[in-house]
Symmetry: C2
Subunit: 219 residues, 2 copies
């Protein structure tokens, strides 16, 4: 039986993009279904009744939720091609640690850059750079986070890059000036087709952010 | 070379206990080092500079942080005995999902039971039971979360059980009356030596909670 793979997603989600990059790395064909997050589909509510969030990967009718769990699932099911997690347990633990760090810190810090003003925004900009600098330190002189090969931790972080233009424009600052090595890494990742075709357009993300700012009354 | 395994921990931590149960399941000898969380050791700060939190597993000098990542690491390094995660990718994804759910929901809900009063406390008690009922639904009629064998998700949840007496006493209610199947599962887990010897004494946890309440001025 051929695999039936469906991805419930939202175009601008850095979490959804992780699943897209992983599927592209593995060369998996799938049906992409865009969700309207203000009017979620019955399928989404049924497939992720606990969190009611995208992304959900539906593989032969069975749902997998939470982006990092989805990427690990994809890596374990389609293990014959393009391994994403390192094979060595200590390296795997490091990759999981930093991916978890990104989820615990980076999303909120980024959100605060465009959803706050004044001192609060300045603090958020500083926080965001400090988090990136910690990640840049972890990257070190390697081409990718896990070494010579693009992998799990690259996927966990690169999807945020499509929001950097919005963060920079809303925050009126340059991330590249602060973290040049990280930006060089991001550009390296974007040369991969799996990444370039999966990441949302940065200009459209910025327009999307402007529309949410307007909706929330943050000018 | 014999493995050198050190665990930086705090006796009442449900996260630290996870590492203890996993090490006991695998039969790993290790040095337990109790941390004073108000005066953290240089070793802790050096081994977990990012979060500065216990537990930290130091294996041959290299640190692994974050309890669920530690348990997965232990499972991958000592893979010849007592497998903790299921072998099938979909089951693995489910275990990871529910363990993540516990971390995202249960800790905060439990904390609010003893750190709040009045309506807020009543809401916290209700929340806590609702989360446990979702977990009870996932357990279903199985002896353990992953089926016939004690495993990863059992470890992720059972350590909270040592706090149930404190939650019940502070909240003046019975968790068993609401979730009898889950409590039966917990008692089943406690029959295992790996669990009974790793979990903190529930009376001592209650006394500890009373001391924090006093410190925080919550009476």
């Amino acid at each position: 039986m051929a695999d039936e793979v469906v991805l419930l997603d939202f175009w601008a989600s850095m979490f959804g993009m992780r699943a897209r990059v992983a599927l592209a790395e593995k060369g998996i064909e799938y049906e992409y279904r865009e969700e309207d997050l203000r009017n979620k589909s019955q399928l989404l509510l049924q497939m992720n009744p606990v969190h009611k969030k995208i992304p959900v990967l539906i593989h032969n009718g069975k749902p997998v939720c939470e982006s990092l769990i989805i990427v690990q699932y994809i890596d374990e099911v389609w293990s014959d091609k393009a391994p994403l997690l390192p094979s060595e347990p200590y390296q795997r633990a490091c990759s999981r640690f930093w991916a978890d760090f990104i989820d615990k810190k980076l999303y909120d810090a980024g959100r605060k850059i465009w959803s706050t003003k004044g001192e609060e925004q300045e603090a958020a900009k500083k926080d965001f750079i400090e988090i990136l600098k910690q990640l840049e330190g972890q990257l070190g002189g390697k081409p990718y986070f896990e070494g010579e090969k693009f992998g799990f931790l690259d996927i966990a972080l690169i999807t945020f890059y499509s929001w950097f233009h919005a963060f920079e424009t809303c925050g009126n600052y340059s991330i590249e000036a602060e973290c040049p090595k990280l930006i060089a890494w991001a550009k390296r990742c974007k040369q991969r087709e799996s990444v370039s075709k999966s990441l949302a357009d940065e200009k459209k993300v910025y327009e999307f952010v402007l529309s949410i700012k307007k909706m929330l009354g943050v000018e």
